[in-house]
Each structure stands twice: as C-alpha cells, then as structure tokens.
C-alpha cells in the first residue's frame, strides 16, 4: 500500500474499512471503493462523517469503508429515521447513508419519501441492483417488468424509479450513476458530499450472483436487442467488474466493450443541462418514464433548500451531544412558577 497522504495528512488506509465479504464483482464493492477515494481526495476528516445503513448486501458496505467514522447499521428499511435522529447529535457532521433498492423502495419506501421532505444533511446512496441480494435473489421493487429470476418467476410490476420518487418528494439533490462508471460516480459523490442537505444518489449496481438473467436490463442479450433505446445498462459476467475509461463525457452515448466483446450503451446528461430547473427535471423524468429509459448524471440540485437543522435552528456554539446539565435543565427557580401554572 502506498504511503501517500492527502492534504490533512491521511493515507488512503485511513479511509478504508474491513475487508469486503461481498461477492467478487459485486457493484457494491466499487461503490465502497469510490467512497474511500472521494473521502481521501476531498480531504474529509473521517471523524466528520457518520455512516448509516439498513439491512442487505448494500447495507453491509459501511463496514468496508471509513473504518474511522462512527456508524449505525440499523434495521431493514429504517435507515432514514435513524440517520435523521442521529444527525442532530452533532450538526457539524455529515451523514453518509448506504441502502439498497429493497431496503429503500420496498420496506423503507415510507421513510424514504419522508426524509426527502425533511432534507437532513445526508448523502443517501441507493445501491440499486433490482434484486434482494442478501436473501438470495428475489425481485425488488426496482426490478423491471417481465424480468424472470430462478425460483421467482416473472415480475409483473412496473419498476419504481428512485430518482423520480426523490424528485417529487422535494429532494434538494438528485442524481443517478452506475457502479462501473468510476469517473462519473466519483464526481457525483463529490457533489453529494459537498451538498448541504439530502443528496439522493441512485447507483445502478449489478448483482453478479442473482440478477444475471438474460431478460434483465443488466444483461448482454437485452442490451443487444435494445441498443436503440438509451438505457443505462450493463452486462456482468460472474466475478468480472466493469470499469469505464475516463473519456466518457457528458452528452455522450458510449458503446462500452466488455471482456467478451459484448457491448452496452450508456447515456449521460448533456453538459449544458441545467439541474436547477425543477420543471425541466420533472419533464425529463416524465419523458424517461414514458419512453422507459434511464438517465445518469446530476438530475436536480437546489442548494438553497433549508436543511432540517436550519429549520430547527439549533444552537451552534457546542455540539448538541456535548451540551451539559447547566444548559439542558431549567433553573430551580422555574419550578415554583410551573407549579403555579397548574392551578
């Protein structure tokens, strides 16, 4: 391991976590690695980040990055409320939430919708693979209609689009990327970390073990037959991780060659796309949902939206969780007055 350090004198190792126990080639691993790089490059103090997650392969990730940050790996679907409460503990800290599509779009849907309205200071990553990985490959709510999985049959339902959900619930930062697109993912992660408020990041993160059915949008065959559509798709061969070279720029439609010569097509938002235009974002998402394609990039950004702690206007001179009795317990004199108010 190199002994390079960043501007605050920390080496990459200071941002790493335990060794991953996820499958080789799992998209979640690249996300974890990108988080490490981004935190290193942004010179973040690990102590300034609190990690949160629900339950799932994706939600295991916080163990695999930022070992020097506090974290709470909570309950399935309940990451948002835990993060919401915990971030009041010390409002100087940034939240980094890692969830899955099952965790967020199924059991956690209600909390997900409502955390968007509250806008706490949290990077909310959904590692989206269209399946329940940790429970061995059932459909999640983001699985495309018609997908067939072993022992599950055919999925008859329309998928939920994480970004659209975030957008209409008033999220202040909405973006989508792809686990294999190191460059874009990195820049979006950096944007998310720098955003004051809730940053929802939907990251397509293929499950190499359970979501590799021919009929899946993650599969090669599917890509071949749908190249005309501008889908954000990838074909994952077991135990192979795709990385996309850095010359893939905004607005581009790029054919990515995989090891076996198969091809996928990715589309990025134009560089001149204005993410602060809400109506345009809505229109784009509506169009996408109608024509059934997915966009990657920064879809919407509102840097002005007050965060939850702005709304509650907290004392700032001392972290809330270091505040002592003298400031938390009313003075003894008040007791008498209160009793009088009771009649």
């Amino acid at each position: 391991m190199s002994n390079e350090v960043n501007q605050i004198g920390l080496s990459k190792a200071d941002y790493r976590g335990a060794v991953s126990t996820l499958c080789q080639g799992c998209g979640h691993n690249s996300i974890a690695n990108q988080i490490v790089s981004v935190a290193y490059e942004l010179n973040l103090h690990p102590e300034d980040i609190i990690k949160f997650s629900g339950i799932g392969c994706s939600s295991k990730c916080p163990t695999y990055f930022l070992g020097r940050s506090f974290g709470f790996n909570g309950l399935h679907g309940r990451m948002p409320p835990v993060a919401t409460g915990a971030l009041f503990g010390d409002t100087r800290l940034k939240g980094l939430g890692m969830s899955g599509d099952g965790d967020t779009a199924s059991i956690g849907m209600g909390h997900f919708k409502h955390i968007n309205r509250r806008n706490p200071n949290l990077v909310y990553i959904v590692a989206n693979n269209g399946v329940y990985g940790l429970t061995k490959g059932q459909f999640s709510a983001t699985a495309e209609r018609g997908l067939t999985l072993k022992r599950q049959g055919v999925n008859p339902y329309m998928p939920i689009d994480i970004c659209t959900e975030a957008l209409i619930s008033g999220a202040s930062f909405v973006a989508r990327s792809f686990a294999g697109d190191a460059k874009q993912l990195k820049s979006l992660l950096k944007g998310a970390f720098s955003h004051k408020g809730l940053a929802v990041l939907d990251i397509i993160s293929p499950c190499v073990t359970f979501n590799n059915d021919e009929s899946s949008v993650h599969s090669y065959d599917w890509a071949k037959t749908h190249q005309t559509l501008l889908h954000d798709i990838s074909y994952i061969q077991h135990f192979e991780e795709i990385m996309i070279e850095d010359d893939f720029l905004p607005g581009m439609v790029k054919e990515v060659s995989l090891h076996d010569g198969s091809v996928i097509v990715l589309k990025k938002l134009e560089r001149d796309y204005d993410p602060t235009n809400l109506v345009e974002a809505h229109r784009l998402m509506a169009e996408a949902s109608d024509q059934n394609f997915m966009l990657t990039g920064l879809i919407y950004l509102n840097p002005e939206q007050p965060t939850l702690t702005d709304i509650y206007d907290m004392p700032e001179d001392t972290p809330f969780n270091r505040m002592t009795e003298d400031r938390l317990r009313p003075a003894a004199e008040t007791m008498d007055k209160i009793n009088k108010l009771m009649f």
Binding site: F72, G74, P81, P315, D317, N321, I338, N339
Partner: protein, 612 residues
C-alpha cells in the same frame, strides 16, 4: 315542563345533610364546550380546599357524541371512580333517560328544562334549568350561546350546593388567563344562573359542600402535562412522535412549555427538538438514532404504537442504545377503545421484541410521579444504555388529578458511562465498546463527533463482539447476551423501589398494585379495616426488574392479591415467573372494561376471593 320549584320526595328530605362526600356526573355532548364548565366546577371546589377528582368519559370522535364528566368530592381524600353518582346534570337529550336512571335513590337531577322527556323517578330531587332563557337574557353573541349555556349549570349548582362563587370566578379567570371579555361573559352567565336559582329553586336535597383546608399542598394537573414537564426538567433533547390518543398531549404540551423552560441561556435557541414522524417506526427510529448519538431522546405512544415499535426496541436493547418510551395505555387489543383506560400492555412490553430481552419499565401512580419519572427515565436509559418504558394510561395521562406539586430534580443528571477524547487518551487502547470493565454489565460508549482516532465504532443489530465488530461466533454471542442480562441485575435495586404500607402490626394479607389502581386499593383497605375489620398490607410496584423487597413482601404474606386493570392478570403473571417458589400465594383481582378501577368493584372482588 315548568320551572316550578321541584317537588321534594319525603325520604330524601329526612336525610341528614351530606357534606363534601358525594359525586356529580355531568352529561353533555363532546365539542359543545362543556369541558370549560366542568373544569371550572372542579377548580372551584379544589380552591375551596376540598379533595376532588375529575374524570372525563369521552367518545372516540370529535363532536356531537355523549360525554360524561364525573367529579368526586371526598372529604377523606378518596379519588377513585365511584360507580353511581349522587348528583346528575343532564344537558344531553340523547342520553337523558340513561342519565336519570344512573342516579342513586335519594339523589339529585339538574336538567335543561328544554329536554322534553318524562322523568320516571320519584326517589330523586329534580331541578329544571331554563338554560336557553338565561343565556338569551344575557345577550351573548349568537355563535357563543351553546358554549355559554354550560355555565348555567355551574351557577345553578353553585347556588344549590353552596359552591363559593368567588372561587368560581377565580377558576374562570384562571381558565381564560384573565381575558376580561371571556371571563365576564362566562362568569356573568354563571352568576345570573345562581341568582335565578336562588329566586326560583328551593333546596330539597341533602348535598352540599363546605370549605376545608385539604388541598393547599396540592396542585391540579394532567399526567401528560407532568410527563412533558418532567422530560423538560430531565433535559430531554430530542422528541420524535406520531399522533395517537391518549399520548399526543405529551409532545404537544412539551412544545407548549419549550419556550418557557428550554430557551438556551447561551444561544437563545431551544435546546430540545420535537419532530413529528411519519409513523411510529419512524418515531422510535429517530429516537434511537438520537439516543445513540448521545442525546436524551424520547418518544411517546399508546398500544398500537408499542406494537409497531417492537423491532426497534429489540435493536436498541441489543445495540445498547438509550431511549425513553412513554406508553400512555388505552384499551387493547388492536385499536380497541382509544378513549378508555387500561393496564393491558404489561406482559407485551416486558417481552417486547423477538429473541431474549429484558425491560426496565416504570409505573407512575399520579402526575407527580409522571414528573419524577419523566426526568429519572433519562438517567436510567443513559446509565443502563437500554430502552426505558414509562407506563402511564389514559386515566392518568388525560384526567385532572389532585397531586403533590412537582419537585425539582434532587440529583444531577446521570449521563452514564460516556468517554470523550481525553478519556480515550488516558485509556490508551484499552477501550472496547462492549467490554464489562466495572463488572456491572454496563460498558462504556463513545459518541459521534468524538475526534479521538480510537473513538469510532459501528453500531449493529447483528452479532458483535466486545469491540462491536461483526461476528457469528457462538461463544461471543452468548458472552454478550449474558453480559447484557447482568445490566438488569445491576439495575434491580437502583431504580424506583416499591412503596410499602404495613397496617398496624401487619397482616397475613397483602395487596399489590401499580400505576393508577392505588386509588381504589387505598380506599378499599380502609373500608376493609373499618367495616369488615380485615387488615391488609400494601405494596405498590414502581418498576421492573423487580426489587428483592417485592419478594420479601410476598414471603411475609400468606395471600397476596395483585390488583390490575387487565383481563389476564399480567403483573401477576410476571411475578409468578419471577418467584416460582412464592407462586401459590399470588392471586389476581383484575378486570378490564375501559373504566378506571372503582372501589365498589375492588371491594366486592376482594371479599369474593377471600370467601373462596
């Protein structure tokens, strides 16, 4: 019907006067504004120095349905519910007939004379009241008439029962915070009605009140208000909640008193955050997050919410996260009767969450204890790093109680075992989140924001070792679970101990209760001694896990009756589990029909069991 002075049946006129020892039930419609009048009566009597209790029996809807308010006036200070009122005020046509029926023989009926229904009782004294006329006479603004109408019976009763009009004025003045127009309008109606009564009604009943000095060391308060205040004095920093009857008024009162009590001297901002969550899972989830991050965090709910909080309670238990959870109980199972009271969630809460668990549960008896446990609960939650439940109920939370004044906390905040940067520096690499260094089962924790390189740890509901690292090791799992259990052994004698009262020099019979049933128990004990000369000793449980004093009390008695408001005798079930050797001595005096326990019921049930 006429407003003629009512005819007075013989027998009741022969009565000796009954002074400061009867109860009054007022039957109205909810949303009609009668709450103000009833509260006025209650406060006036209280100001006269007479012990009283007031219980509002209201429906689970918002407006137009029958509602009854019962005031018990007891010179001896017995506040339990009585089953049949001596005096009824009938303002609601819909339940007029049943209201009239409910009066004891020789009792009294005040009624709105516009209710055109026959009164088929010869054994009561009736006072018709020309409500409409009297209000018209006062030219009250049209939209306030039905509201003001309720002041009519206040005035008439004041006259007939000799309630001090001065005190009524004070009560009204307090209620409207001195807002002159409102005060004048309402008192005006009351006063005019009193005058009308003095001129048109002839006292024909034996009931009246006389001033006493038995309330000067008390206040009148609702349990939920006390809980909110106790929490604020406990330094609560984070409250997440979801609306539910009868718990909603805890966070609402908290919001109300926040500006008064928790404006930060330094920053001028509030030092407590109150968040209305999307549901109870969210509410306890936020509280768990806040508690883990080092804030004094609480949530409040009732039965249905407790059911939804089961999974998070288990997470908090196993990650050792402090949370205070108020359960203001209503009648279950299921949605049940949301506006009725019960003690039905005891076993469920005790075993809440899948897997092996333990629970610290506090049982306040009145608003004063709601206040006390309100602040103490945080000390326990942070000291033992575990969820702490405070079990109130609708009767305690939403009714007005004569209770001792709230007492300012007499111990400094106990924040438990928390390590900051300098502590870790001192400890070198010694520290492990889940190590039992003090042999009391309680480990040391660090909080987010702690910048020491060793401080960080990842909380998880999955298997972990003493360093909070993930493990599936059989030994580690058992080790951690046994150590956690030890915390509750440590807690046993450090949390509120039972209150015991031994009569004279003791009795073979023991009575055990908890929460609000003490009212019926204490009155029953005196009746048993005075009228049946049966002596009984008495223990009130304030908390689980049980103190050994409870065991000793049971050992010292041949027969121990556990009094509670549920069908299955839930506390008896827990005591039986805890003390198998003493199990045969325990018997239940319990039932649940949504009403608070009456002395009549308890006395009957006790004598029946004793006869067996």
């Amino acid at each position: 019907m006429t407003s003629e002075p009512s005819s007075v049946p013989q027998k009741s006129s022969l009565h000796d006067p009954v002074i400061n020892d009867f109860s009054i039930t007022v039957g109205t419609r909810n949303g009609s504004g009668s709450a103000t009048s009833n509260l006025t009566l209650l406060r006036a009597l209280f100001r006269m120095g007479i012990p009283i209790s007031g219980k509002n029996l209201f429906p689970s809807n918002i407006q137009g349905q029958p509602t009854w308010f019962t005031i018990r006036i007891s010179k001896d200070g017995y506040l339990a519910r009585t089953e049949k009122p001596e005096i009824v005020v009938a303002m609601n046509t819909d339940c007029f007939v049943q209201d009239v029926k409910s009066i004891i023989p020789g009792g009294v009926l005040f009624y709105d004379q516009d209710i055109n229904l026959p009164i088929d009782r010869k054994d009561i004294v009736c006072y018709p009241m020309p409500v409409k006329q009297l209000v018209k006479g006062m030219d009250v603004p049209s939209n306030l008439r039905s509201y003001a109408a309720n002041m009519v019976y206040v005035g008439v009763m004041a006259q007939i029962l000799s309630i001090d009009l001065q005190k009524i004025y004070q009560a009204i003045d307090f209620h409207f915070k001195g807002k002159k127009t409102a005060v004048d309008l309402n008192y005006g109606v009351a006063n005019a009605s009193a005058i009308w009564a003095s001129e048109n009604l002839q006292k024909g009943d034996p009931y009246r009140v006389e001033p006493m000095d038995k309330t000067k060391d008390y206040i009148l308060a609702e349990g939920n208000t006390a809980a909110a205040l106790g929490s604020l004095y406990g330094g609560v920093q984070f409250v997440s909640w979801y609306p539910i009857t009868p718990a909603s008024t805890i966070p609402e009162e908290l919001n109300y008193y926040l500006p008064m009590l928790r404006k930060d001297p330094v920053s001028g901002k509030y030092t407590c955050v109150v968040v209305q969550a999307e549901d109870e899972l969210g509410a306890i989830g936020m509280a768990a997050g806040a508690g883990w991050a080092g804030l004094r965090a609480m949530t409040s709910t009732s039965g249905p919410g407790i059911s939804l909080m089961a999974e998070f309670t288990g997470l908090a238990y196993y990650t050792e996260t402090p949370i205070v959870i108020w359960n203001v109980a209503r009648v279950g199972p299921s949605t049940g009767m949301p506006t009725r009271t019960a003690q039905g969630d005891v076993t469920f809460t005790y075993f809440l969450g899948h897997g092996d668990t333990d629970a610290i549960i506090l049982f306040p008896k009145d608003p004063n204890e709601c206040f006390e446990f309100g602040w103490k609960a945080f000390d326990y939650a942070e000291r033992y790093q575990t969820p702490v439940f405070v079990m109130s109920d609708l009767d305690l939370g939403m009714q007005y109680w004569m209770t001792e004044p709230f007492k300012y906390p007499d111990t400094p905040m106990d924040r438990g075992k928390i390590l900051w940067e300098e502590d870790l520096e001192r400890l070198k690499d010694e520290w492990g989140r889940y190590k039992d260094v003090d042999n009391d089962g309680i480990p040391y924790r660090t909080l987010p924001g702690n910048r020491h390189p060793n401080a960080a740890w990842l909380a998880r509901g999955t298997g972990h070792n003493e360093y909070a690292k993930y493990t599936e090791s059989a030994e580690k799992w058992e080790e951690v679970m046994d150590r956690i259990k030890k915390k509750f052994e440590t807690a046993r004698e450090q949390i509120p101990l039972p209150k015991i009262d031994i009569m004279d020099n003791g009795s073979p019979i023991g009575l055990i209760c908890y929460g609000t049933t003490w009212m019926a128990v204490e009155e029953t004990r005196h009746i048993l001694r005075d009228q049946h000369n049966i002596k009984t000793d008495y223990l009130r449980i304030l908390a689980t896990p049980f103190s050994k004093q409870i065991c000793e009390f049971i050992q010292q008695h041949e027969r121990v009756y556990i009094v509670e408001l549920n069908r299955d005798g839930q506390m008896r079930q827990l005591l039986t589990m805890e003390y198998p050797k003493l199990a045969t001595r325990l018997a239940s005096l319990c039932h649940a029909d949504g009403l608070s326990m009456s002395t009549e019921w308890l006395l009957k049930a006790f004598l029946k069991k004793e006869a067996e």
